[in-house]
Amino acid sequence: MIRMIARRTVFGVALAGLTALAMPVRAQDTIKIAYIDPLSGGGATVGEHGVHHFQFLVDKVNAAGGVLGGKKLELITYDNKSSPQETLLQAQKAIDSGAKFITQGNGSNVALALTDFVAKHNERNPDKQVLFLNYAAVDPALTNAKCNYWHFRWDADADIKMQALTSFMKTRPEIKKVYVIGQDYSFGQAVRVSARSMLKEKRPDIEFVGDELHPVLKVTDFSPYIAKIKASGADSVITGNWAQDLALLLKAAADAGLQANWYTYYAGGAGGPTSVRQTGLEHRVFQISEWHSNVEGAEMQNLNADFRKKYSGSGWWYLRAKNEMDMLVKAIEQAKSVDAAKVAAALEDMRFKDAIGAEVWMRKDDHQLFQDLYISSFGPGVAVDEEGTGWGWKTVAKVDAKDTITKTVCKMDRPS
């Protein structure tokens, strides 16, 4: 018995030694930013491309000398498999390994769980507070009923985008029959509701011929849905789908040769452009975003070109990620600290001239960033193309930041 214990102890020590050896040697004084998003499953392509964005930005900041007089940033990535439960486990892991900032974007259901978790964590651990930097989860609730001091959002929320998109649709008389299809979770439902109510108000003559919610990131063949859209006689489709759910939807539409106009949030994501090109929907797929690769501005143009060189042609998507990192760095410098409460205080109400020379504003009331939005269509005759298709995004309408400002019901508690 004793021998066995002794043997076990020796084994245990040896194992501990091995793990210690296997641990990567890390500089102790880096500022850790945890990236928590799907790196497997249907959201993986988009999640992985997000990692490329943030790694590129972190490398840039470090190459320019880091922050606070030489401290380096470090990006650590966690796979949440698109699941809220898994996200909380990963967030705890991230905090345990010393992350000060958590960034996440794919899935508002995930963001809602995470924002609650961060608020509770910060309340219980005043000495280990962290910030949640949201670069893409756009459920309006995050900056309204569910807002809190530790959450900041850089993307325009779903209602702001739908407001802009429907105002644009109002000017297109050829739209007569609209079909709404979305993912069956908080964000997809929000899009469905706002699309209906806003279009009804702006274009009462438009008929809704279909309204569909499908399982999130589980459908691998959208042909049955496309057949239904086709049969409904819709001339336009509105969708908030992202990642695989958008690429495969457009792919099925391409296979069936569905000739409709698409009003989307995320058609620029992986696989989308290829499918649009394949169907030949010349300037009939629209996207609303804060930036696309043909928006003027040398800094972003150069950044996109460098990024494509590094990642074998895959283009830059998120100006908002750039804004997030730039504003974070500025806030850390202003606060002269990485303390979450102090950095949050510096971020609140920050006005910032972004990489395309426009002013963006982080509203203090709800931590929502306001920025210019672009509606663009996909087709030939542009300077920068996507996915090697020869087609690219072209601005068809621009909405100024001041016209996107919405009311908020957020009432947040601030640390005293």
Partner: protein
């Protein structure tokens, strides 16, 4: 309307026959060894990944041949060197073994190919619209999937009913001891059937890879529905598996096309639920939203009312 029916039928049939490619092997293995092979969908996934790898190095068509053969060999190996040993410890051990194997295969796939979906493309030869009906096109590749799967079904049926090998296999399904007495090597028959089942799954993977998505979760997405097909169709019955596959495929596709909710059904009868009721979500959910659940509901009903399945002769 007719258009929707025609295309839903085509889509449903195509999904159904794909299910059958997988279910045929699974049902034979199940009825022969009495064990649900949880790793069966993993062989399907391996077929897709190997198909992708061979497509990249040699080409699509060799891949379509080599990938199923490789998966079949692997399946035979698994039976010969693992399952046969585990068999001595009873069905539970076998079940646990295949369950573990499914995880091992998934992890191996992740290590070798990563978690991100692969860019597995339809071969250029089949990348065109096969025909156009009411200005909706139907891709040639899907037609190809349909034709291959039906051809395999016919071939299997002929093999099992018209050849000596088929006779022996059928005999070992029900009377393995008697077949052994007659001098046949029953363990070898088991191995061959397991290998052939895996090869069919591999073939399904290789042809489904480009059309659906080749990713590590593809086995987990399809696995549960396969068990539904096998139990629904009845143990050991190839024809049952075929009919069940088609029913499940068609039901799932047509469910999406129908926008009827319980509310719509009962409202004309004068029954309605007070607006914000607890069950409001279920009450107002359309059949399209409930679509993914329907096969499992069918499974439950089948087990309650006809435990032998559609065409099975034994109880599950």
């Amino acid at each position: 309307m007719l258009e929707l029916v025609v295309f839903s039928t085509l889509n449903g049939l195509q999904y159904g026959v794909l299910l059958f490619l997988l279910a045929s092997g699974l049902t034979l293995i199940f009825s022969m060894m009495g064990v649900l092979n949880f790793a069966h969908a993993s062989f399907y996934m391996l077929g897709a990944y190997l198909g992708y790898q061979i497509t990249r190095t040699i080409g699509y068509w060799p891949g379509l041949l080599i990938a199923p053969l490789a998966v079949g060999l692997l399946g035979a190996g698994v039976e010969r060197f693992c399952l046969r040993l585990v068999h001595r410890h009873g069905h539970v051990a076998e079940l646990l073994f295949t369950f573990g194997l499914a995880f091992v295969i998934e992890e191996v796939v992740v290590v070798l190919w990563g978690r991100v979906p692969l860019d597995y493309r339809v071969p250029a030869l089949l990348d065109f619209p096969a025909f156009t009906l009411w200005d909706t096109t139907y891709p040639a590749y899907k037609l190809f999937m349909l034709v291959i799967s039906v051809a395999i079904f016919v071939a299997l049926l002929l093999l099992l009913t018209r050849t000596r090998v088929g006779l022996i296999i059928q005999a070992s399904l029900t009377h393995p001891n008697m077949v052994a007495m007659l001098g046949h090597n029953v363990p070898r028959i088991f191995m061959m059937v397991f290998g052939a089942g895996a090869a069919l799954a591999g073939l399904a993977g290789a042809i489904a890879g480009p059309a659906l998505v080749t990713q590590p979760s593809m086995a987990a997405l399809l696995g549960p529905i396969l068990f539904v097909v096998v139990v629904f169709g009845g143990l050991g019955s190839l024809a049952g598996a075929f009919i069940a596959s088609l029913i499940i495929g068609l039901v799932q596709t047509f469910a999406i096309a129908v926008n009827v909710s319980l509310n719509d059904v009962f409202l004309p009868l004068g029954i309605s639920l007070p607006a914000p009721a607890v069950l409001g979500d279920l009450w107002n959910a359309t059949l399209a939203q409930l679509g993914p659940v329907i096969p499992y509901l069918l499974l439950v009903l089948m087990l309650v009312f006809r435990p032998t399945g559609l065409m099975g002769t034994r109880e599950t």
